[in-house]
């Protein structure tokens, strides 16, 4: 009996290790930006002729949600954001990420910057009209440069930024009702205290 005990223990330990490994999400890369100040930017606002930057939100707890009309997972989380927007709990700013060049159907060699911005405004506005607009406002990150500063590598992504402009949480992938109620809203409530 004892002969088989240790190999059995070893085998069970290996199974547990592999089971845990299989259930980890390889896309869930911890962000080094949590606890750091949100990078500054100044980007054109969708449906308006002005610019917006994180400094405009100083003194408020807010969400920054990275989205694009070509992003399939954004459709999954969008109704949840629309619901959240109706409740007026926390302002949600949309970072529209590479609206034109991200979808891969536009030949960028033949599109000048002005045309790209025009097309982005058109596509993004149409998509929000169709699916609902939960955002306080959306800004256009046409070339994804601001995305790099925020460590964006998969859309959608959501950041919680506190009153002092510090990133307190980053969520990669669609926001689910579970993540919203168990992680995002409690943190927002705590930061608002």
């Amino acid at each position: 009996m004892n002969r088989f005990l240790w190999p059995l223990v070893g085998f069970v330990a290996l199974v547990v290790l592999l089971a845990v490994g299989l259930n980890l999400n390889p896309r869930d890369v911890p962000s080094p930006l949590v606890g750091k100040p949100a990078a500054n930017f100044s980007l054109p606002v969708l449906n308006a002729e002005r610019k917006f930057g994180p400094e405009d939100m100083k003194g408020k707890v807010w969400l920054l949600n990275v989205w694009a009309s070509w992003c399939v997972s954004c459709r999954a989380e969008h109704p949840i954001l629309v619901e959240l927007g109706k409740k007026n709990i926390v302002p949600v700013v949309g970072l529209n990420y590479k609206e034109v060049r991200g979808d891969g159907t536009t030949d960028m060699a033949k599109t000048d910057p002005a045309a790209e911005e025009r097309l982005a405004r058109q596509n993004a506005a149409k998509w929000l009209k169709q699916h609902g607009d939960p955002y306080t406002l959306s800004v256009l990150d046409l070339d994804g440069r601001v995305g790099i500063d925020y460590g964006v590598y998969g859309v959608p992504e959501t950041y919680i930024i506190d009153k002092a402009g510090i990133i307190r949480m980053k969520h990669t992938g669609p926001v689910t009702p579970d993540i919203l109620s168990s992680r995002i809203l409690p943190l927002v409530a705590e930061l608002n205290k």
């Binding site: 890369v29 962000s31 080094p32 060049r101 994804g144 440069r145 460590g151 590598y153 998969g154």
Partner: protein, 165 residues
Amino acid sequence: MMRRTAHLLAALVLAMSSLALQAKEAAPLAADPLTEKRLLAITTELRCLVCQNQTIADSNADLANDFRREIRKLIAEGKSDQEILDFMVARYGDFVRYRPPVKGTTILLWAGPAALLVIGLTTLILYLRRRNSAISDAALSSEEQRQIAALLDPSSHDSQNNKPQ
């Protein structure tokens, strides 16, 4: 025969040219070959976060293209290789490096395989030693001695073999 070969060749050339037409145009290189050389060296050290087991140098993902564009810009601004790596790590974490630095959170990653090898070798050596001593210590009973003698005795051996079946 010759004609057939010529036809085959023509078909092959056609097939290859259509493939070439389908292939995407290469991304424009920076005018400076030194920049490209540095870009290649840096991007070989960086992980593409979309296709996680590729380096940025190997990857054709949109994000990898954005990183290349950004790194070209940083090189043009006169940043050192280390500064550029730090720029990436500050935004994407140690995971973005193909060779993560040795520190508390990565020690298992670096030392794990060596530790497993040591544990395995130690276990093997201990097991073999225990088995060896178990074998040499075993004394034969008198019954076993008698059986050995019977087996080694040539006369009994022959007589057994010659027995009619």
